[in-house]
Symmetry: C2
Subunit: 147 residues, 2 copies
Amino acid sequence: MRAPTAQDRANASTLAATWLDSGGLRPTRQRLALAELLVGDGRDRHVTAESLFEAAAAAGQPVSLATVYNTLRAFCAAGLLAEVTVDGSRSYFDTRVDDHPHYFWEDEGHLSDAPNDAVRLAGEPKVPEGAEVARVDVIIRLRRRES
Amino acid sequence: MRAPTAQDRANASTLAATWLDSGGLRPTRQRLALAELLVGDGRDRHVTAESLFEAAAAAGQPVSLATVYNTLRAFCAAGLLAEVTVDGSRSYFDTRVDDHPHYFWEDEGHLSDAPNDAVRLAGEPKVPEGAEVARVDVIIRLRRRES
DNA sequence: TTAAGTGCAAATTATTTGCAGTAAG
DNA sequence: CTTACTGCAAATAATTTGCACTTAA
């Protein structure tokens, strides 16, 4: 937990720009702002449209809510983000796009990555005839233990 | 695939009534109708509010959509149904209430049970300190294989 | 210059709720 | 009788969309 230096900030911009570019997306002011919040520090992140909207505003880079939605969709379509369905009522977006398990903290409605070995899938899943696996979602729903 | 006999229908009513009773719910006309559609033939079923609403109407037992929603919630609260979150945009309800994996057919938006051994979870999932597992959701997302 | 991106406000979709009437225990 | 249940219509909440304006290439 170190305060970000000028160097860090420059780096975050570069990362964001590169990231957009790798998805073939135009680097507009609002996309750069959102991208920086998502991948600016190289750490994985889980956001909702609302949380990202607020984060952008808080960072002094306000982006309209509609654009946040459109942008998240665009990032997903470009393969830069993965949509994770856990809550039914809202969508979560994950900067980690490989297939991996998640923890969902039911009390706070918060999503986080689970270590790849949190569950071991022994062998390939059985697949019905004529179908192929698009993805296997594993959600470990947690609640705070009553002590 | 046999046409249901009078015997089958009588049986379905009994099953539905018993099922409601086991959840401590009053056997109203609309609940019985919905319960019968859900567990009347002893087979497991996956429905959405909309699909159940239509099924009831088609069966000559119309139930208002609001009541379908309220009833599905009541069945869940009573532990008679499990809510499965796969689609983000709509909720699915499963008559099988134990923890088991699902197939989700992305093309048709259709949910079905996967055999318990479709994926083998080797060992207990790792759980962060201070938390306990409420449930582990495993969704095998399928798409029709392009031949 | 031009197609893509943005931001409002209005539209949609799934779901919930208020409330007056109805039915189960 | 009394409380829970039902159904409509109106309210919500998350998300999408139409359209005039802006901007990256």
